[in-house]
């Protein structure tokens, strides 16, 4: 079954971002500006078209090309076809999701289908794409079985340009920054709820359920929520059945998504009064965070930020622990818009640009204290990185 809805709101090719889009809502305009930039890229590179695809999984670490270009977070596997004249079609599965998708989409046409392969082949024909001069983004995320069927239906697969869309969206728009700020507000309220709700006797999964639903009520459409406790943590993990107890250190990685923008805050909370040693070790993470923020200015390299953070731990004698499994990365980009600047690791030589948003987290296993967490979503500015949180991470205590 296929259902096609036409949205007569495409600006003329080559027009400015605002021309011809007056009837669109603000979100659609933002998305459409990305469509226009993608169209210009096709023209500049003498390409005929672009096929973007999404596997329907929402990875908080990844860019979702269909969302970036079409403005729709798809339920199932989906594709977006853009040609060099700027004409665009969004294809979503399942077919019944077409009305929601069309209402959100910035593409000219939206088609709901239960047969993505046949519909994509038909749409590629309608747009008259020469596949030898067409590029793809996200096809590599689809399952091999589906990709094989698409390849058979199209008789060839366009060459991969998986970096294109994440590069186009690497610096957030004002609207995306506002969404990140709102998401951070939600995350901080979620953490405040943890401080109110957590108590000895509660199971981890009960606490996680409360936080998840609480933040959903505040507008979080998704949440990569890790939350776990131990007297000596090796890492943060998803909530299990452990019963919270006095002396537990609760680790939380609170990652709500608001209007397609994930953010993350990382927090450490102790049930009962912590020993002085724990405060001393947590202060190392706070110091590392300060160093990272100072180093994270526009023009700096990601590697420099990483070294600034690691330097604090090395100076304190924990240089051997600045690698997995004692930590993972010092931060990372955030989906589903763009995951730039990528992982905050020493091998990443990418240059930070003003307006880039990512999470910086000097989370660290320390032998004397276990794994501790301290992290904020930050936006890159000219002088330094700015945390979006109103209240920076502290070692919080739940009184018993």
């Amino acid at each position: 079954m296929s259902i096609r809805l036409h949205w007569a709101r495409r600006p003329a090719a080559g027009s400015s971002d605002a021309i011809g889009v007056h009837a669109m809502n603000e979100r659609a305009i933002v998305r459409n500006s990305r469509l226009i930039r993608a169209t210009r890229h096709l023209q500049d590179e003498a390409l005929d078209g672009l096929i973007a695809a999404s596997n329907g999984l929402n990875n908080f670490l990844d860019s979702n090309a269909v969302y970036v270009l079409g403005g729709v977070r798809p339920i199932g596997e989906s594709a977006l076809v853009l040609d060099r004249d700027g004409a665009s079609t969004l294809i979503v599965t399942p077919a019944w999701d077409v009305e929601r998708a069309a209402a959100l989409s910035s593409t000219d046409d939206t088609i709901g289908t239960d047969d993505l392969v046949a519909t994509l082949a038909s749409v590629v024909g309608t747009h008259r794409l020469d596949l030898s001069r067409t590029v793809s983004v996200g096809l590599s995320l689809l399952g091999q079985g589906l990709l094989d069927r698409i390849g058979s239906a199209l008789r060839t697969l366009p060459k991969t340009a998986d970096e294109l869309v994440r590069d186009l969206a690497r610096v957030g728009t004002a609207e995306e920054l506002a969404a990140a700020e709102r998401a951070t507000w939600i995350a901080e309220r979620g953490y405040a709820r943890l401080l109110e709700y957590a108590r000895p006797g509660l199971r981890e999964f009960e606490l996680a359920a409360e936080l998840y639903c609480f933040m959903k009520k505040l507008g979080a459409e998704d949440n990569f929520l890790l939350m776990s406790a131990s007297q000596h943590n090796l890492a943060v993990r998803a909530a299990g059945e452990r019963i919270l107890d006095v002396g537990d250190i609760i680790l939380s990685e609170i990652t709500p998504c608001y209007r397609g923008q994930f953010v993350q805050i990382c927090r450490t909370t102790v049930i009962g009064e912590p020993p002085p040693l724990l405060r001393e070790k947590f202060a190392l993470l706070q110091a590392a965070m300060r160093e990272g923020l100072a180093a994270g200015h526009a023009g700096a390299r990601v590697a420099d930020v990483t070294r600034a953070i690691n330097g604090v731990f090395q100076k304190a004698g924990y240089g051997d622990y600045c690698r997995p499994p004692y930590m993972r990365v010092r931060g990372h980009g955030l989906g589903i818009t763009s995951d730039r600047p990528g992982d905050i690791v020493e091998r990443n030589e990418r240059v930070l640009e003003s307006g880039m948003v990512f999470v910086m987290h000097p989370n660290q296993y320390i032998p004397e204290s276990g794994y501790l967490m301290c992290g904020e979503t930050v936006v890159v500015a000219d002088e330094r990185a700015r945390s979006l949180s109103a209240r920076p991470a502290q070692l919080d205590v739940i009184a018993v």
Binding site: M1, G56, L57, N58, N59, F60, R73, I75, G76, T93, P94, A95, W96, E99, R100, D114, S140, L141, L142, G143, Q144, G145, L146, L147, R203, E204, F205, E206, A208, A209, E210, Y212, C213, K216, K217, G219, A220, E221, D222, N223, F224, L225, L226, S228, L234, A235, R237, A238, A239, G240, E241, T255, C257, F262, P324, P325, Y326, M327, R328
Partner: protein, 385 residues
Amino acid sequence: MQTMQPSIMLGSYVWAQDRLPQDEFVLRLDDLRAAMARHAWQAVFVYGDAREHAGLAYLSNFIPRMRWGMALLPRAGEARLLCSMSTRDLPAMRTMTWISDVQSGWGPEWEKAFDPWVDRLKSERTVELGTFGFDLMAPALHEQVRRSLGDRFRLQRADDILAIPGSRKRPRELTMIRASCKVLEAAAKTFVESWRNSQEPESAALDAERVARSFAAQDVRTLISLDGGRTLVPYQGRFEKTAGPLVGYIAVKVLGYWADMLITVNDRSATPASRHAEAALDALVANVRPGARSGEIYANAIAALRPFTLHPVLGESVGHGIGLSLHEQPEFRAAGDSALVEDGVYALQVGIADAESGHVLLSAIVRNTANGAEVLARSPSLEAA
């Protein structure tokens, strides 16, 4: 019903050894080992991802909360489980499976974890291996597997040779499904009561989700209608009051097993559409028996709906199997010809979208027994509602 996939599955996925002890997995592996002997496979690789992992969960109890996992199950020797997680996360992953050898297969860890394991299987002749779920695998990983194996091994797609999990649910699986249905019914009750109090479908869905999660649901999915049941939408975050009936959907996963329900609550008197939908659901339930054909069941349900037609959100289907996957075979479609098996568990779904008579969506979960369908969960009655 297809729903929005969350970025991570939140509930507790620790292996519940009291409910699913190791001997259960020994029994589950018996069929697989017999197939390995028949096809001369020296090992099978069972792949699953966060969305679809029934085979992987059935054999290993491991459910990837995000990205993917793959069990390497040899005909003789120790199994290994690869997961797409950092080495930092391995201690937590090891609590989710009976397989003691759990390794990271993520990024540069792949070659360290996969290559040495398959090297044990090397022989002078080409080694045959079976694969499950490889259609779901991303092409880059597919290529990595092939590169690691080189020409010493030959992969054979096993999905069409052996159904894993099988259609007939094992006794412990039925216990899990009953537990899931119990949580589902509690959540559905809250869905309805909350809507009655607030008239806000999204608030009602969220309240239902909260109840399910408080009962240790590992995953909860909801859809609601904002237009009286004509269409369904995932979470929008609006929490607005809406006029008209409550039409929604909820699915819960408990101990790995799904149960789901379509809900229609109309506080007006029953309409012709709702009466026909109830009759069609009754017909569906009545037609479930060992040996019944899926297409025949579809035809009987469609006949009971007349003069109305099937609601478009059901995608020309009136049900399917359910268990470790929200959507298992067989599918009850016009062209379906699968025979229903005893101890099969099925989600039966009917609905009508009619501008004049109203929109209705109803469902039931049944176990197929020698004496007909045992209803494990059913939408609240329209009249009682």
